[in-house]
């Protein structure tokens, strides 16, 4: 697992998300004001871009059909279909957002 420097924190507006491609994986990073969270940028329902959803607390509503994903656990909250998206640890260092991600070669293995 490696921490990747992604972007300056101000590139992601408050209570919004932005997508980023890291080594072939599309991740949505959200700015919750007091912290940043990251999940896969695809709703388990129909693959909607979660980065474009409305963020409320630590939840995002997918822009396509309003399915809600918890950004902390990755679980789909409603409807409760027992599915989830992957989450990625995020930290901010010197104003830069870092995401921890497994290198592609390990994932493939």
């Amino acid at each position: 697992m490696k921490w990747i420097r992604v972007t300056a924190a101000e590139q992601i507006p408050l209570r919004e998300g932005r997508s980023v491609q890291i080594d072939g994986t599309e991740i949505a990073i959200f700015n919750l004001g007091d912290r940043f969270l990251a999940v896969d940028n695809a709703c388990p329902h129909r693959g909607g871009p979660l980065c474009d959803g409305i963020v409320s607390g630590a939840t995002v509503a997918c822009p396509l059909h309003g399915y809600k994903i918890c950004l902390e656990s990755g679980n789909m909250l409603s409807p409760d279909l027992g599915v989830r998206v992957d989450t990625y640890p995020v930290r901010v260092e010197d104003g830069v957002v870092l995401v921890q991600i497994e290198p592609a070669k390990d994932r493939a293995a």
Binding site: K2, I4, R5, V6, T7, Q11, I12, P13, L14, R15, E16, R18, S19, V20, Q21, I22, D23, I29, R46, G47, G48, P49, D52, G53, I54, V55, S56, G57, T59, A61, P63, L64, G66, V96, I101, P103, A104
Partner: protein, 801 residues
Amino acid sequence: MEDLVVIGNGMAGIACLEQILKHSPKFRVTVFGEETHVNYNRILLSSVLAGERTADEITLNPLEWYQSNGITLRLGVRIVDIDPAARLAIGDDGSVTHYDKLLIATGSRAFLPPISGLNKENVFTFRNLDDTRDILAAARPGAKAVVIGGGLLGLEAARGLQVQGCEVTVVHLLETLMNMQLDMTGGEYLQQKMEQLGVRVLTSRVTQRLLGEDKVEGIEFANGELLEADLVVIAAGIRPNADLGRKAGVTVNRGIVVNDYMETSDPRVFAVGECVEHRGQVYGLVAPLLEQGKVLAATITGNKGPTFEGWKPAAKLKIMGVDVFSAGEVVETEGAHAVRYEDPAIGVYKKLIIRDNRLTGVVLVGDAADSGRYMEWLRTNADLLVRRRNLLFPEPAADQGQSIADMPDGETVCGCMGVTKGQIIAAIHERGVNTMAQLKECTRASTGCGSCSGTCEALLKAVAPGFEEETKKLLCKCVPFTQESLREIIRSQRLRSVQQVLQIYGNGIGCEVCKPALSYLVDVIWCGDHEEDRSARFINDRVHANIQKDGTFSVVPRMRGGVTSPAELRRIADVAEKYNVRMVKITGSQRIDLLGVRKSDLPKIWADLGMPSGQAYTKGVRMVKTCVGTEFCRFGVQDAIRTGIELERRLENLYTPHKTKMAVTGCPRNCSEATVKDIGLVGQEGSWQVVVGGAAGKRVRKADLLITVESTEEALEAAMIFFQYYRENANYLERTYDFVERVGIEKVRKETVYAPAAQKKALLARLQKSKTLSRDAWLEREAPVHPTQFVQIEPLEATIQ
């Protein structure tokens, strides 16, 4: 007949007089009032200051009431002396009035702390209607207002001033606000709420003097700090007006001393209200004063028996969205336990003080919904042993009717007016009360601060046979108000951002349902002069395009009236090729749709097109569809194209509660289908029919006729008036066809095209303001609201080593 002279025309005196009149009509009554107003509800002065009510709306007893009860009313006369031997009241107008019985109800005055310079201009107290009017006259938007005193009245004054547009600072002597009614933690929670509203709070400040020449310009604190001020309101407490008691020769300590029968030391002299001291206590809140009045009325009319045995102090702050309630002890002393509940994130703090299984005090900040239950426990000294595990939570009730049924008859429902559940039930059964309005008239319940209206309605619902419930649909559980209330809240409380509404009136978080709705409401109420928060908007309104099932977007440029040109068509074709647009489609709205566009290409496409946004992605002005009208058609009788283009130009770029589709047709053949549009103009020989509320979507509905007018300009104006009326009054996501049906076309007509000229002008002026502040959303291609509005983030480190 005996002469009864009442000195004081305020709430306590007149409420007592009402009780006296109920007992017996044997008095010839004269009432002296120093103020020039009939009796009004002093509790609501802060809402007059906040612009929520007019002075007339807080009148309790109109002139006709005095007349029909044969009362001689002397307003603007101050009683300056009393001759107890000759039984005379002497007025400052030289009048001498004889009494057999004297009722002193002179209330209290503002306490003026020892501050030098209090006589400067723009320094006010806040006790009566004249004070309120003076403050309002001085409270200009942007003025720096300082309120000295962070108690109930000071905070309400501060909020009122802020709503008037002033920059408000509350200065408080002690460490925490409302220190008489709240413990320190409660005071801190309250301070946080006030600061969220935008009121600045300075605690632990001793005000030493007011600065400035004639007019106040600032204040100086004991620690040397200075604060600018254009106006200063002193709200540092009240003192009983007990001087006339001394002149009447009765015992006076802090207030005029009365016993449990409300008698003074002179059998002919009585006193009630804030000027009275009972068992060492002086009361400044209305409920105990009304109780005193009832007892006094019995005594003075020869029905001596009932006694006033004191009252647990209780206070409620009347600032919308800042719930504060306190009663009994505030700080736990030895032998007492405090039961607490705190949630700092949403600003809720509750504390009950329990001694020997009985409630002796309660402090509620941020949620005072249960205040009635706690008051009842206090009043009845209820044994709480079996409830010890859920003191802070209501016992589960089957439904609201059940909890209403559980409420004892003696429990006070309306604390302002002192109305119990039993009295409301009696009014329903014995006087046929069926509506809230009747209940208010009959019992006065819910005419004070109004916070008991929910309980009153629940009682009506449970008991009144003819009660019809108003159906109220709350916007969302995050912010549990109807959209109508929210409009009122946003307007009266001057809230300009979604987050502010959620912080103060909701759970602070919101969701994808309420945030877009609130975004719409703050925009329309402030005519675009609000704080736009894109995070609260749906993605379509962040990037001004319609998201598709694969996350790409569709682009529909505006073609007013459905009219385009070869040059535009060439640019559209070029764009479609250049950006590999997956499909080019003619829409049902006479527009061209480019489908399958990547988000990052949007600004480039808009630039290449050089056409404005068609708003095909939003709840806004979609289009005006036209037929060719007189321009080409053999049958056309009106110029549909020019009129349609003009209508679109006048309304485009604005948000509406739901999408708004319009059409103009040049003759009754209706080729552009104007009679199934939200707004349609149907041309006829020599006139236009303006029709509204049509639909050809999920529902099909023929539009209603709004008005028939002769000129094109009149037709456009009628459409604009209706358009703005719909924007201001429909619920978010309510199409015109649901709105018109809900309101009724007759009412819509009366409030739009047939409204008084001033009303129509005001609607058009607000539309104009919105229009001036609006612009083509696609211009954000040059000035994005955020650097990454349209782009995907490029990682600083692209690949993993």
